[in-house]
């Protein structure tokens, strides 16, 4: 009998052994982020913090496609694997109402974070619900969608001459959406394996939405009213319809097979000599000025998202704020780290390492703006950005947008008006389901 018991216990022990975790070090903080260069820069910044305070910072990463899933799986399980998370701006609603994020309003007011960081970053990376003055994150990595282009193609005298003859104005960085379209058409030469433009089309997460928003906001359109959740007359307004048609028009001039493209493909369009212009987040531009990763580094230029027909100029917001996870056992340590992070000298270090600081003072400084070829465009963009819905059900809204816009953009089904009317109906139904507005 005893033997039976022992082996039974051994068996159960075996089961348990697989499930127990190793206890973490007392003085250690874990930050969860997606796997990309800025996360490496944050790790370097964390190393500085360790030197100063002795608290070890570990930045844990996962590839972008699982980032959202993995983070929320951990939140939903109330796990304390991560003390802080650098979450997407759309997560604020789910993170705050779900009880996953620690309320940082007092921290915000005490340290006047609202004055330290650029206003748009506070509004979109930290506050939820919009206009409530309740804050859940500290703006960490500013980001928005901008454009890179091939300077050598643009500056070729022969091309300049041919362009002027065809369109009646000089070939230069596009000054509006019409010029963007003309230049894309001008460089679209499938017989030479050269194409006009690379845009976002992937419909698995927010790529398609970000690309379309770039057109929508610059055309003066809106997704809806963020306070009343009214979408009729916004997302299906004439301006929005014109914007969708303008974005679809650009798809004609993309390289072949451009139906599932996001940041990787769009940077490839420049490095592989495929396209004259390419849309991408600023966060992916450092690798374009690096000769090791871009053979055309010397010939790559950058510009901010151009204005639409009425002169409105906006861009879709990317970027993230850092939040303290409410299930963390080390919230006090984490708060200390954030206090250190918002200091001016830390923000300067962060920018020098390659991070896109949100600190208004650093952004405005000439040394920051002249540090890289794209920092000036970044500075200009960060003061005119808008973002997607941040409500907890944002993923459903995103899926509905993908579901409606993708078949129109790529498959050519229906018209822009039908597409956006249907999207407005979907969004109305979703908002109704969750009892918003009405």
């Amino acid at each position: 009998m005893r033997k039976t018991m022992t082996s039974l216990l051994a068996g159960i022990g075996l089961v348990l052994a697989c499930g127990t975790s190793v206890y973490a070090q007392e003085k250690e903080l874990t930050i969860f982020w997606a796997e990309w260069d800025p996360a490496n820069y944050l790790q370097e910044l964390g190393n500085e913090y360790e030197k100063e305070t002795g608290v070890k910072i570990t930045v844990e990463t996962t590839p972008w496609p699982d980032f959202q899933t993995k983070a929320f799986t951990e939140f939903n399980a109330h796990g304390d694997a991560y003390d802080m998370v650098v979450g997407d701006s759309q997560w604020l609603g789910a993170g705050s109402t779900g009880g996953h994020y620690v309320d940082l309003t007092d921290f915000f007011n005490k340290h006047k974070v609202g004055d330290v960081m650029a206003p748009a970053t506070v509004k979109y990376y930290a506050e939820y619900p919009g206009g409530s003055s309740k804050y859940w994150a500290i703006p960490l990595e500013g980001d928005a969608v901008g454009w890179s282009y091939r300077k050598d193609w643009f500056e070729d005298p022969k091309e300049k001459e041919a362009f002027k003859a065809k369109y009646g104005y000089d070939l230069d960085v596009p000054k509006d959406f019409k010029a963007l379209r003309d230049i894309a058409e001008f460089f679209y030469r499938p017989d030479q394996k050269k194409y006009g433009i690379a845009i976002y089309t992937d419909n698995s997460y927010d790529a398609m939405a970000m690309g379309f928003e770039n057109a929508l906001f610059s055309f003066g359109g809106e997704l809806g009213d963020y306070k009343t959740y009214k979408v009729d007359g916004f997302i299906n307004s004439d301006k929005a319809i014109a914007a969708l048609d303008a974005y679809k028009e650009l798809y004609k001039f993309t390289p072949p097979g451009w139906a599932k493209s996001f940041f990787v493909e769009d940077n490839q369009a420049i490095t592989e000599n495929l396209a004259a212009m390419s849309m991408n987040y600023f966060a992916f531009f450092p690798s374009l000025i690096n000769e090791a990763s871009n053979p055309n580094a010397k010939n790559t230029g950058f510009f901010a998202n151009p204005p639409g027909p009425n002169g409105d100029q906006f861009a879709a917001l990317g970027g993230q704020g850092i939040s303290i996870v409410s299930y963390s056992q080390k919230q006090e340590e984490a708060t200390k780290f954030l206090e250190w992070f918002i200091k001016d000298e830390t923000q300067k270090k962060w920018a020098a390492l390659g991070g896109y600081t949100c600190s208004a003072a650093v952004l405005k400084s000439p040394e920051f703006q002249n540090a890289t070829p794209y920092n000036k465009a970044f500075y200009e963009t960060m003061f005119k950005v808008k973002d997607f819905w941040a409500v907890p059900e944002y993923a459903e809204l995103l899926q509905q947008l993908n579901q409606r816009i993708y078949p129109y953009m790529i498959g050519g089904e229906g018209t822009a008006k039908e597409t956006l009317d249907a999207l407005a109906a979907d969004w109305n139904a979703t908002f109704k389901k969750y009892g918003r507005g009405q």
Partner: protein, 301 residues
């Protein structure tokens, strides 16, 4: 009780010397396995059935409300879900039929005395040993219109395999056929080599033609094992996720498992996705049952 059915160890055996009886082995290996099954399979299965009747969302702290059959009603009246099912059905038919044709065909070719037969069979099995995600990534490169080797080899120019809404599903099915035909081939080979040689000799004496021999001798005798291959492949094809998810994001190639994944882990509509998972489970069970019935009939013959 189970103990009475277990024979005791031979006292002189090594296991007995080490002190491991059958009962201890049962406790050490079987009980943990059953515990694992109950904890990670059976319990979630029943638990999620409960969730499928609620509006539960795992991403919020709001309590789950009982909504009855609302989730099922909504799902079954959602045209997008129906289109996902239609796409999945089309995919299963193309992919399983293709694998059957290619796999069985290759098995017929291999079912004779040829030099290096063993090596050849092993090499042909390689695709099946790769991970689905890796196959997906490789084929994405192969299909690429700008630098992909398939267009280059076939002289198709910039034919868009994955970004053409009409072609995407076929391209995914083609990859699946490439990957899983070897599985059908392996089973068919086993079946073919079990067909008694004297039947062919008798047919040859009666001057039966090759078609007659094939349809009257080979096929009926291999049918049961082919049916098993079809059951396995249908179940797998129904569940295909990684391959299609990596290869394309065309709505025309959005299989039901992709919709389920998005609903469950991107939108966190936990209750509704549980309901959809149950609908899929019932469908797979029903289809498999039809096959099993048919398999039993074939076996009886």
């Amino acid at each position: 009780m189970a103990t009475t059915m277990i024979t005791t160890l031979d006292r002189s055996s090594r296991a007995a010397a080490r002190g491991l009886s059958d009962i201890s082995i049962r406790n050490l290996f079987i009980i943990p396995t059953i515990l694992f099954l109950i904890v990670f399979n059976i319990f979630p299965l029943i638990y999620s059935l409960g969730y499928s009747f609620t509006d539960f969302r795992a991403s919020t702290s709001a309590a789950a409300n009982f909504v009855g059959l609302q989730n099922y009603r909504d799902l079954l009246s959602d045209p997008y879900v129906w289109s996902n099912f239609a796409i999945t059905a089309k995919y299963v038919i193309i992919s399983v039929a293709g694998q059957l044709l290619v796999g069985f065909g290759v098995a017929m070719l291999l079912n004779r005395d040829i030099p290096l037969k063993g090596l050849l069979t092993t090499l042909l099995l390689l695709p099946m040993m790769l991970s689905m995600a890796v196959v997906g990534l490789f084929w994405k490169l192969l299909y690429d219109p700008s630098f992909g080797i398939i267009n280059y080899a076939l002289g198709l120019g910039t034919f868009e395999w994955l970004s053409d809404p009409k072609m995407a599903l076929y391209a995914v099915a083609l990859t699946d056929i490439w990957m899983w035909s070897p599985f059908v081939m392996l089973l068919s080979l086993a079946g073919l080599s079990a067909v008694p040689k004297h039947l062919y000799e008798a047919a040859a004496i009666d001057r039966a033609g090759p078609f007659y021999t094939f349809f009257r001798i080979t096929l009926p005798l291999v049918a049961p094992i082919l049916m098993i291959a079809v059951i396995f492949r249908t179940m797998e094809a129904f569940k295909t996720f990684d391959l299609a998810y990596i290869l394309t994001s065309q709505p025309t190639a959005e299989l039901i498992s992709i919709r389920l994944y998005k609903m469950a882990f991107q939108e966190w509509q936990t209750g509704r996705s549980c309901a959809l998972a149950y609908i899929v489970l019932i469908m797979v069970l029903a289809i498999t049952n039809i096959y099993v019935k048919y398999l039993n009939k074939v076996k009886e013959r």
